[in-house]
Amino acid sequence: MSATIVRRSAIMTAAVAASALFLASCSSGGSSDPSDSATGSDSASAPTGVTLVMWHQSADADPQLNLYKAYEAASGNTIELVDLPADTYTTAVQTKWATGDRPDILEYVPTPQDMRQLNMSENMLDLSDLAFVGNRVNDAGELDGAVYGAVLGPLSSFGMFYNKDVLDAAGVDVPTSYGDLMTSCDAVTASGADMVNIGGGSEFPVNMFAGFAYMADYNEGDQWGQGVADGSIKVNDPEGPIVASLTTMKDLVDAGCVNSDAATATFQDSIAAVYDGSSALTILPSDFISLFYEAGGGDTATVDETIGFGPISAEKGIGSYSASPIGSYFVPSTGDATKEAAAKDFIDWITTEGYQDYVDEAQAVPTLTNATTPDLGGLYASLADVLMDPSTTPAFNQSVPGFGSFGQVSVSVLVGQASPQEAADTWQAYVDQAIEAQQ
């Protein structure tokens, strides 16, 4: 049994267990005792009064920011946040990293390819001796047998945010396949809305549309991604799913089913367009659920009435998941023993004493067994449904070298600069370059 299959099974088991615990908690009055998380850092040797620099995503929402504040209050240490832009996060980290700059704590993508880019074995502390390692429900943050990242969740699912009113007005069902998008397009556009909104100006939403969601059908057990990594699968296979995905996107653009400003719109534009009903749906990571609630001015009931979240893929209507950089933390090796100890104390605290409160506020399905699933509602409940679905597959990019160029090549199809096959050929060249660089 592959590690990925074990991981997926573990997620499902944990999710089911967490749900059962959630049901039990309902009858016993709810969440854990808040005093548990108010006792501060347990470790007697943990340094205090230390200032820890953390590079973090600017998209960190209240649950993450409040977690940092809670740790500061509990430990006496200070966390100095360095904001890095969400839409170019890994590139921004790489750029700073290559100059030799190091934070004390790094929020980062815990997938194998992204972790390899930071040369974990030499640059990160192995966290295997911390308590959370035994509580993990998946192997995210683990590379070559060592645990470098603490993944708090929420796990990301790459699915579809849709406006229920727009679909109702057009008289169409919620799409589950890319074929449905084309089928429902005429009815939706006739009602005055765009069928699909893509924020190509931010680049990564094109990854979501042409990659993550479509490819969910093809990456069971991460077999497709691992095949690309070992060279047995070529991304530019004319009969392969990447060319098919890019072709589908081009067909939708040509048919007028995509917003006319797809090349320049940002992901924020997409969220606004779906919320205000000028577009029927957009495909984005579930990390942005909180941004939809923000779009509704905090009126969660109205947002839940208006917006839905669900899986969509090439044909099967299944979702994909990945550990997100949001809520995933690493401790770079800085050579400063005091700060390294304080950073590990941070990891230990957020994965133990501070974890339940974090999960509750983040409305997340826990990724550690020492927390129970909170009372999920609205979009978060829909996300949990996708994550608990046994057919959900790992995101297609996790093991693919050279994935960083996929956004650029898929945008070239979106704007008509390259044909799907030409774009796939270009990406294959980048994949080959990355494979060679890792040898």
Binding site: T90, A263, T264, V415, A437
Partner: protein, 322 residues
Amino acid sequence: MPVIMSPKRAGLPSSYTTAARGGLSAKSSPRVERHRGGAYRLWFALPAILLVAFFFAGPFLANGVLSFTKWTGFSSEISFNGLDNFRSMISLGILGHSTLVTIGFAATTMLVQNTVGLALAKALQDTNRLNSVYRTIFFVPVLMSPLAAGYIWSAMLAPDGPINAFISLFVPGDFTYSWLGSESTALVAVGFIDAWKWSGLVTLVYIAGLNSIPRQMIEAALIDGASAWRRFRSIEVPMLAPSFTFNIVITLVGSFSALDVIFATTKGGPGDATSVLNVAVYRQYGQGLFGTSSALSFMIAILVILTAVPLIWALRKREVNG
């Protein structure tokens, strides 16, 4: 009216001129004067020499060396790999494409900045209160953050932005062209944005150049009956040669290193339509491929040298001949 007289005509002793030029006493021997004068200049030059050594020569040489290495984020080892990085960039089509895009961008910004800058300089040449206000207004974009300029123009040029709204007043239906999202206009659009950002500076240089032209020459031409266009073509343009040299070289070479405005508007897209060399450098760097990134960066330096040196030589020669 004050009369400027030479020291000799003013009846001052001959030692005055020596002291005034070199700051030395009249009793200093010429040899000592030369020696001390040379050291004096060297001390003034030393900070600049150190700055250039630390912040230009050192990094430039290091970048040149790293261009020929396999250096990635995947390993801490750096090993020489000859021309592999350049071959890789050529085979991926990055080097050729990004070089062409860079040249196209630089040519656009250089032409627009100098054309607009010269026109504005002519319009605002006279120093009066109204022109001072306009000079300030046109200089404001120079002081603005390039990223802010990029974001502002992204909004202005959005399909539903004010530029298209204005055009819609004159064409039937809604005009929703995506200036920055179309491969055919994105490069020119970002070139114009960069030119808008820097034209105020170019304008000031041209105003200074125009105002340094002796008025007697213009007045003589007026007496001879030369038209405004003839005076501009035959007197001002030749006399502006040093300004042309400075502005053309600075705008062209500066554009080779452009990144911020492009990043704020298109991030090198759509696709790779505005992917200048610095965007390609950024993308390779961001994927942990530092050796190929250094190779591309080295190519920018080569491109600047190959362009700037002959250009300065030719323009300076024109200044002398003119």
